[in-house]
Amino acid sequence: MKLLDIEDLVTELTTDGRHWLRAVDRVSLTVRRGETYCLVGESGSGKSVTALSAMRLLPEGRHRHPGGRIRLHGASGETVDLLAADGETLREVRGGRIGMIFQEPMTSLNPVLTIGEQLDEALLLHQSNLTPAERAERIVAALAEVRMPDPVGRVREYPHRLSGGQRQRVMIAMALICEPALLIADEPTTALDVTVQAEILKLMRDLQAAHGMGLLFITHDFGVVAQIADTVGVMRRGALVEQGPAGEVLRAPRHEYTRGLIAALPERLARGPRPTASCKPLVSIDGLKVHFPVRRGFLRRVVDHLRAVDGVSLEIGAGEVVALVGESGCGKTTLGRALLRLLEPTAGSIHLEGRDITRLSRKDLRGLRRRMQVVFQDPGSSLNPRLPILTTLLEPMRVHGIGRDDAERTRRAAELLDRVEMPADSLWRYPHEFSGGQRQRLAIARALVLEPRFILCDEITSALDVSVQAGILRLLRSLVDDDGLGLLFITHNLGVVEFLADRVAVMNEGKLVETGRTDEVLRAPRETYTRALLAAVPRLDGALVEA
């Protein structure tokens, strides 16, 4: 039975009122009752705009619909044309008949209202015939339904007291409290850890089965699609290139683009033969601890220590990629920064090429900086937005006395850009002119400029689309294989680990849980935590085998 019917939807967006960009181009899809429709695609493909068009949540005066119809079918056969609906109807539809969950759990709840108040507001608006006592009962029931621990006590809590996963549960409770017929979820698990993601996905599946509602689920992750979808639609540049039952589309994609996307998944990338890593350790850390003091009270006395990294020992050899895996907050980024002496370690020692650098002064360290470099996670902030790429690349060379003059340095910079597969005219451009993937390539070039022996990569592909990620992963692997660099690759994506890493170190609560060769750890994990982590990862292959 049809629930949401989108026909030939066209959505155009503008920023200046003159130039219109076609974000959604003649998309037709149908969501039925009790069905999960997954819209999948890379960033900018128009998946979110499609969902926002259906909710009529696009900014006023900045969008238009030159064509198409969106109809919501009611239980008793009546239909609402959402594109033509007036404000009153839309208010009744939003929250009442269509619920929505957004991506960022940290910002989608109002921080100054309690959870109970926020849930109550939706009820007050859409179910005004209920008495306060009945509403309070419904709120507790809704929180219990999303398996919130201690729902009665949580009603009076403010959002900042909850973890990301719990906030997303509250969002789901809020979306479901008025029992909508359709739930739109826009990347609801992208910001969450894999173990939490697994729980939330299971919860959503159970709730959908219990309520029999339609679910329009937007994601970029094929693993998630394989786990949750009944029907899949693949979007590219605003158009729906392929849609059909999940099993068919994932197993035997008809469209070339879908095939390319699935082939670009890191666990599907072909791994070439690798030279054996030298046994000489490039970087070794021994019993490293980083503790942050927790200060309280008027005099800011130290009452406790936050043990971000608590006794970690690890070795990284030349020509070897070691992946550091763990959930958010486990201390992997802190470990990386301490390793580079961007943070002061509390205890333990760090050796770089056999030399102890743990207690080296800032001045002595500056000369050694060129031996170890770093690439960060966020492509938006990894390059100085006010400097052209040339200056960013030249300045470190100048400081470390590489190259005789600026002409020679410029030539070296151009060669490096070629190495990271960027056009040479990028030198005179500014960071904002590049896409996320290109910026990460430039950040890699900046790291390579100093001819380092060791590079720390902190989640450098997490913000990128899979096809872009595939290119960067191949580039990194070739750098390691050709130039014999040592790489510590921090990530939470086990697919990436499988493609890239020679060895894996699994981290939890500041400690290394398990270390070993990649295939050994991934195939036969010894520790319970590693097993739980691996089981939570949504994988295309695993889900297809199950199905």
Partner: protein, 401 residues
């Protein structure tokens, strides 16, 4: 392919951020109006001796040509002219921004040194001599300034000329804005007073910016103990009442415009320090700053090359409002009768408007209007600058026209 061929030519450069902000700024009506007014003031201040001067620009007496206006130029006039010429020249020169500022500052400093040691105009200036010569018919040819009265020409040759309404004189004199209590032309005084308005705004704010950026930057980058000490220093300076301190200093050390500039500067840096500190605290955690540290770049480069340009936006906005408030502080002081003694200033003219028994409207309207327009212009520029540097408001507001 040769190695050189891989290096592209700089013709493919794209616009740097400063140009983009400038373009966005100039695209706004408010900023255009504000900048036009400030530009007008700069022109008036620079060429004041050629716009309002009792000394003729050019004259011929007994067959000898001379330019009394040039001969009577004071060292300060030369400094203004040199500063203006240098600024125009440098604006067209293809140099780096910080180099331009350095060249301009050293150029102005050098001119000041030269001018004060070499230029010595006649100590005794007799403004009325030319009018007397002219009356005697000894001047063969003369070119006068558009306003033929100096700021300190009290028209002694016309006898008892006190305060006069605009265009009220019936003996051939023409005072567009009237005269003040000593008989000097108000328009001439206002044009010369533009220098004080501009100078006090820029120098006081410049001093405040310099101190504020340094202290705020160090606080934000190092945090910890330096931050705690710095913030206490900020709190101490915020507790000092600027106007009261100014009054005290004027009482003890006499009236000096430079003293005022310095005092306004060193009491108003705390706001800028707070801004810079907040920006630096935020920027310090940014990946590109961490990457600069990881590249082993020296501290000054991290602070002033990688962090400061990214935290400049709120500072520029605050500075343009700061200029306005410095001008107001000087006007307030002059209005209270504690400003400069003989040199003209807008606030001092406002003071004269209410001093005599009658209300002299022209002494209130014209200088008051000038103060209002200047402060308003700086506020307009500040407002437009905030929109220009902030991409969020840029998209919402100025984009659609």
């Amino acid at each position: 392919m040769t190695e050189i061929a891989t290096v592209p030519t700089p013709e493919q450069r794209s616009r740097p951020w400063s140009r983009q902000v400038l373009a966005a700024l100039l695209g706004r009506t408010g900023a255009r109006i504000g900048l036009a007014w400030i530009g007008l003031l700069v022109l008036a201040a620079t060429f004041a001796p050629f716009i309002a001067n009792s000394h003729p620009l050019f004259m011929v007496i007994d067959g000898r040509a001379s330019s009394p206006a040039l001969a009577h130029l004071e060292p300060l006039d030369w400094v203004w002219l040199a500063g203006f010429a240098l600024a125009v020249g440098l604006a067209l020169a293809p140099l780096r921004a910080w180099l331009k500022i350095a060249v301009w500052l050293s150029g102005v400093g050098l001119t000041a040194l030269l001018a004060y040691s070499l230029v010595s105009p006649p100590v005794l200036t007799i403004h009325e001599q030319y009018r007397e010569l002219e009356a005697e018919g000894r001047i063969e040819r003369v070119v006068r300034a558009p306003i033929p009265y100096s700021a300190k020409d009290y028209l002694r040759d016309y006898g008892d000329t006190g305060i006069e309404a605009p265009l009220a004189a019936d003996d051939g004199r023409r005072h567009w804005f009237g005269t003040e209590e000593n008989g000097a032309d108000v328009a001439a005084r206002m044009i010369h007073a533009a220098r004080i308005a501009l100078g006090i705004g820029f120098i006081a704010t410049g001093i405040a910016l310099l101190i504020g950026t340094l202290i705020g930057g160090l606080m934000g980058y190092f945090s910890g103990a330096i931050d705690i000490i710095g913030m206490r220093l900020v709190e101490i300076f915020e507790a000092i009442p600027t106007l009261f301190l100014l009054l005290t200093f004027v009482a003890f050390f006499g009236r000096s415009i430079y003293l005022m500039m310095v005092i306004i500067g060193i009491t108003s840096w705390s706001g800028y320090a707070r801004y810079v500190r907040a920006e630096f605290l935020k920027l310090r955690e940014q990946d590109f700053v961490q990457a600069a540290v990881a590249c082993g770049l020296p501290l000054w480069s991290i602070l002033f090359r990688h962090m400061l340009p990214n935290g400049l936006a709120p500072l520029l906005v605050a500075a343009s409002f700061g200029v306005a408030s410095a001008i107001l502080a000087e006007a307030t002081l002059s209005f209270l009768g504690l400003g400069l003694v003989d040199d003209p200033s807008w606030g001092q003219m406002l003071n004269q408007a209410v001093q005599s028994s009658t209300f002299n409207w022209w002494l209130a309207v014209f200088p008051g209007g000038a103060i209002f327009c200047t402060v308003f212009a700086y506020n307009l520029i500040g407002e437009a600058l905030r929109d220009a540097v902030d991409p969020h408001t840029q998209r919402g507001g100025g984009g659609v026209r």
